[in-house]
């Protein structure tokens, strides 16, 4: 595969608090701001607490999920008195870190999240971003404190709804398990290590290092599964089965238990073999998602380096 070259990646944005109760990102951004870290070598660093009202209230969001507000349609809708707070913030962030799709957008946007699911470190991005994939490959090789995985979303840029789509390149760094509103030192230390390695990678890239191509594995979403619910009240009638709980990324076969009802009955996985992720993520109960099912793919990355003039 031919080598691919890119312009220098000199503008990095590190974001936290997109969901106000996901504490690692909140504290990582605060620490970077306390240290006044706005440049490291060739990389200028912008740090943003993206949803400050939700951070103050220690809530996921005030009116609507900020991390679903970044589609082209939503960003271009006119702001009125009834525009929810988070949609306004999305437009402000698009101005500050974008505009999405333009030359002025930051080169790389890393948005730090936590999940209550046992997902270790998971980078989530829109497919075929060689930069993001190489960073994933680098982090996976260097980090030993937790497994590093990747989820690729197959969405066009215009329909991409999350914050990192504002940058020219970007990914969500999802780290778990951590309860909402809780700051765990072990999880924070993982995030700090990942951010340090990210900056290190960018500096190496900008100074001319060639990052060799190769194969990486990633997961792509196939479908999501809701909890069994009472048809009248819509209340859930079962919980994630103990054999599935905490077993994100472990292949599910037909017949494997996925739910256990409150009266003790088991509900089994049906259909093709798939990998579950976001198992029992707290914020997804209201989105009617008990877990996502994914398939594993192998991607072949080209070697990449900076464009030589």
């Amino acid at each position: 595969m031919e080598k691919v070259s890119f312009s220098p990646l000199s503008r990095l944005a590190i974001c936290g608090g997109t969901h106000g109760n996901e504490m690692s990102g909140v504290y990582m951004v605060r620490e970077l701001q306390k240290l006044k870290l706005d440049r490291k070598g060739s990389v200028s660093i912008t740090t943003v607490l993206t949803n400050p009202r939700a951070v103050d209230a220690c809530r996921r969001y005030m009116e609507t999920d900020l991390n679903r507000c970044f589609t082209d349609d939503l960003l271009s809708a006119p702001i009125t008195d009834s525009t929810p707070y988070e949609l306004r913030r999305a437009c402000e962030l698009n101005t500050q870190l974008g505009p999405k799709g333009s030359r002025e957008a930051v080169d790389l946007l890393c948005d730090i999240h936590n999940t209550t699911s046992n997902m270790g470190i998971c980078l989530i991005f829109y497919s075929s971003d060689w930069i993001a994939l190489h960073i994933y490959k680098y982090l996976q090789r260097k980090i030993t404190s937790a497994p590093v995985k990747a989820i690729l979303l197959d969405t066009t840029s215009s329909e991409a709804y999350s914050l990192e789509s504002v940058g020219k390149h970007g990914f969500t760094m999802e780290v778990g398990p951590q309860p909402n509103g809780v700051l765990r030192a072990d999880i924070f230390n993982m995030v700090k290590e990942a951010v340090d390695l990210l900056i290190e990678w960018l500096q190496k890239f900008n100074s001319g290092s060639v990052f060799e191509g190769g194969e990486v594995e990633a997961f792509t979403p196939v479908r999501s599964v809701d909890y069994p619910r009472d048809p009248t009240t819509n209340d859930i009638t079962a919980a994630i089965h103990p054999e599935l709980q905490d077993n994100d990324y472990t292949l599910l076969h037909a017949g494997n238990p996925v739910f256990q009802s409150f009266s003790g009955e088991t509900v089994e996985h049906e259909g093709e073999d798939l990998y579950p992720v976001f198992v029992n993520e707290c914020a997804y109960y209201e989105k009617k998602i008990a877990f996502h099912l994914t398939k594993k793919i192998t991607l072949t990355l080209p070697s990449i380096s900076i464009k030589q003039d």
Binding site: Y27, R30, T116, P179, L183, A239, H241, Q245
Partner: protein
């Protein structure tokens, strides 16, 4: 919004003040609960209230006791502990004059807290749900045995008595500047000795426990307690003797 139902009392106004729509929701609820299951301190109050809670702390199955002289509750807790053995169920006694708080269950004659963790807020874990179900089943079995006339001889119950609340290190603006140390995280009920790691700053430095003796921390890194200035509470181990009880 001021309102911690389990605390009953808000900062102001006190619950004995005239009711009204301007009272915080949880204070209104506390008054309703007091009407239905109390009034607190009166002969009409319910005999037992089980108050079911979860915690983000790794406390396992915990029973919370509010009075060291509630022999009925001590006997119940002894029964539950023996019933679920070898699985662990520990008793937390919060009788501290300053740290004690007016729980919703305290309207009853015999308030019992069932605290099971770790579980994130907003998440339902099967194993935690099952543990809660088992605790409650044994508690109800005890009441049934008692009502049928079974007598319970004197027994000794090990309890962990709340000693003090330890807050996070904070800066002048009240922001936390360190996290529960990885060595302490998830180690509820394990001995914490002077000199042991307690907090870790964001740049990796260790802050050690400076107490005068060994304590047993619990409620370590409970999400709801950041705003209550509590990283964990320290406890001391004690053996309480419960008198014999039987139905009269």
């Amino acid at each position: 919004m001021c309102g911690h139902l389990s605390y009953g009392l808000c900062v102001s106004p006190p619950p004995s003040a005239p009711g009204g729509d301007d009272l915080p929701y949880e204070v209104q609820r506390a008054q309703e609960i007091n009407r239905i299951f109390g009034p607190k301190g009166s002969p009409e109050a319910y005999d037992v209230v089980f108050d079911l809670h979860n915690t983000t702390s790794n406390m396992g199955c915990t029973l919370i006791l509010e009075s060291s002289t509630d022999h009925f509750n001590l006997q119940m807790m002894n029964y539950i502990k023996k019933a679920i053995a070898p699985a662990s169920c520990l008793v937390l006694l919060n009788e501290h004059p300053l740290l004690k708080y007016s729980t919703s269950r305290s309207v009853a004659k015999h308030p019992v807290g069932l605290e099971v963790g770790p579980q994130p807020q907003g998440v339902l874990r099967s194993n935690i749900f099952e543990a809660m179900r088992v605790l409650l089943k044994h508690a109800l079995d005890f009441i049934e045995l008692f009502n049928e006339g079974m007598e319970f001889p004197p027994c000794t119950v090990e309890v962990f008595r709340v000693l003090e609340r330890v807050d996070y290190p904070r800066d002048a603006n009240g922001n936390i500047i360190a996290m529960v140390h990885p060595n302490l995280q998830d180690c509820d009920w394990e001995p914490l000795n002077p000199g042991d790691p307690m907090f870790q700053t964001f740049d990796g430095k260790t802050i050690r426990y400076q107490g005068s003796g060994t304590v047993y921390p619990t409620f370590i890194n409970e999400a709801a307690y950041y705003e209550k200035q509590q990283a964990f509470v320290t406890t001391g181990r004690e053996a309480l003797v419960a008198s014999a009880i039987g139905k009269v």
